[in-house]
């Protein structure tokens, strides 16, 4: 029987900065595109099809005194290679159960805050860099930017004895599939998003809600109302303390527009967000973004991705008294030209214009941590 490592165990190794040897047997372009990132991980990439006749060619390049995890797309090829390594005398070999597919779909639950009245959980999609949240109070819960793995949120709600009553999306995601609609259908919760984002199913337009209140939660919808165009992205400010910043402010910097065409408008929105809405906020407000770029750098001592507004401001010149024109120029300069893979399909699905089976959903989302590419380090 082969030894397996679960994606949960792998996540622990990443978070604890353990050392590990990854033998990735996917083809070279897949490995170049994305892999399991760990600060103290070592890697060897040899496609499984070069090992069909045996592993002699790589045994000298593998450690004997360290755990080796064989990784492939779904698990089959890794098992095929790991068996041969076991026969060759390696007793320190594991396979990653479910492969990169399982890795891409795993959510790690971290606690952001807890007191008698309120609890906040962050869900870290370690394989892809996406963050979603649950805010629990009394008998109810709010989910922010849910991913398509809605079982996870439902299970937590069940364990905590709460009902999911509110779901918010900070913007129409272009890099991953939203779980908002499906979760709303299953729980009966109200689902809020910006009408301007073009969704075709029934939802609560955020344009008509300045606040959302339930139990001990008071959520302010921070939308920049700019004449001439409708904003796409909003932030949520909860109880004057937590800023769910969506794609506007990250731990590592400001968001970068990613869909082209509307860069100038987006930059202006971002300016108003930063200098009107956020500038008035206290330094001890905690920023909880929808993405991260580098887990090792952005995760804090408490084990979640987030930082105080004061520290983010101090690190980021773009947030320090920039004139509007200069700010907009800098954002435009920093705009990225590449779009997330499959973004047209993903946007169409998130708008409700298109439905696809689970296999296609996986395919559309599979791949690297590109949702975090829109950080600017200016």
């Amino acid at each position: 029987m082969m030894k397996e490592m679960t994606v949960q165990q792998m996540t622990e190794k990443v978070l604890n900065k353990e050392s590990l040897f990854i033998l990735d047997v996917r083809n070279e372009s897949d490995f170049r595109d994305w892999k399991i990132e760990g600060e103290n991980f070592a890697y060897l990439n040899v496609p499984y099809f070069e090992l069909v006749d045996g592993v002699d060619s790589i045994v000298d390049r593998l450690p004997k005194d360290q755990d080796i995890v064989v990784v492939c797309a779904k698990g089959g090829s890794a098992a095929f290679v790991a068996e041969q390594l076991a026969e060759a005398g390696f007793d320190n070999v594991y396979t990653l159960a479910g492969g990169m597919q399982a890795w891409s779909e795993h959510l790690h639950q971290a606690k952001v805050y807890e007191d008698d009245q309120l609890k906040i959980y962050q869900f870290i999609r370690v394989g892809k860099g996406c963050l979603s949240y649950m805010v629990l109070s009394g008998d109810e819960a709010l989910v922010v930017d849910p991913l398509r793995f809605i079982d996870v949120y439902e299970q937590v709600a069940q364990q905590e004895g709460v009902k999911i009553t509110h779901i918010v999306d900070s913007h129409l995601h272009a890099d991953h599939l939203s779980g908002g609609k499906a979760l709303a259908e299953r729980t009966g919760a109200a689902y809020y998003l910006m009408k301007s984002e073009g969704a075709v199913f029934d939802f609560e337009p955020l344009e008509q809600h300045e606040t959302i209140d339930f139990e001990n939660v008071h959520l302010e919808v921070l939308a920049v109302k700019t004449p001439g165009h409708t904003p796409g992205s909003v932030s949520f400010f909860v109880n004057g303390k937590w800023l769910f910043s969506g794609d506007t402010i990250f731990v590592g910097g400001l968001g970068r527009p990613d869909l082209g065409g509307k860069v100038a408008e987006w930059a202006e929105d971002l300016y108003h967000t930063v200098y009107e809405k956020v500038a008035a906020m206290a330094d001890d407000v905690i920023v909880l973004p929808a993405h991260y770029a580098n887990l090792d750098e952005e995760i804090n001592a408490e084990g979640y991705v987030g930082d105080t507004l004061g520290r983010i401001r101090a690190r980021n010149e773009m947030m320090q008294n920039k004139a509007k024109d200069e700010f907009i120029d800098l954002v435009i300069q920093g705009a990225k030209t590449e779009t997330p893979p499959n973004f047209e399909d993903i946007v169409a699905i998130n708008r409700g214009l298109k439905t696809v089976d689970i296999e296609t959903q996986r395919e559309l989302e599979i791949g690297p941590n590109r949702c975090a590419l829109h950080h600017t380090h200016a």
Partner: protein
Amino acid sequence: MIKVDMIVDAKGLSCPMPIVRTKKAIGELQSGQVLEVQATDKGSKADMKAWAESTGHQYLGTIEEDGVLKHYIRKSAEHETRNEVTFPHVVSNEQLQEKFHDPDSFVLDVREPAEYAFGHIPGAVSIPLGDLDSRMAELPKDKTIYVVCRTGTRSDLAAQKLAENGFDRVRNVIPGMSQWNGPLDSAQS
């Protein structure tokens, strides 16, 4: 239907099995023969391409039909890399690009049907080298015949054969489809 020399059924199997079976089948083929691999594992496409690249076999393309991926692979032929071209009348790809739509021109593609299917010069007629003897009567004697293959080697053999059989306006196209920048027709996407 694309004519092939062998079909491997790897439907319902997940990796590594499609590649394991492909590898075994390729071992049983002659150089230059074409294999069709039927698979349902979506990941097999990228892997098939990468595997062919690493082993030197020629990945021709993939067609998806009713949820089944059909991959086409041509076993590498060592003599093709030597590029011994002996037929004296040759033209370059660029010269053919100017000529191929002339009414006086006849483009003969002597590659395997699967290679032809994944991209050929518009109007080119497909007769694989192996079928040339039996189908020579289909060719016109009053036109200039431009013989094309992937690298110029098979077309060299074909051009010699045609010349021996009384075709006196034959040109071998060098290097051929591997470097073709002109328009392409494809029966398959």
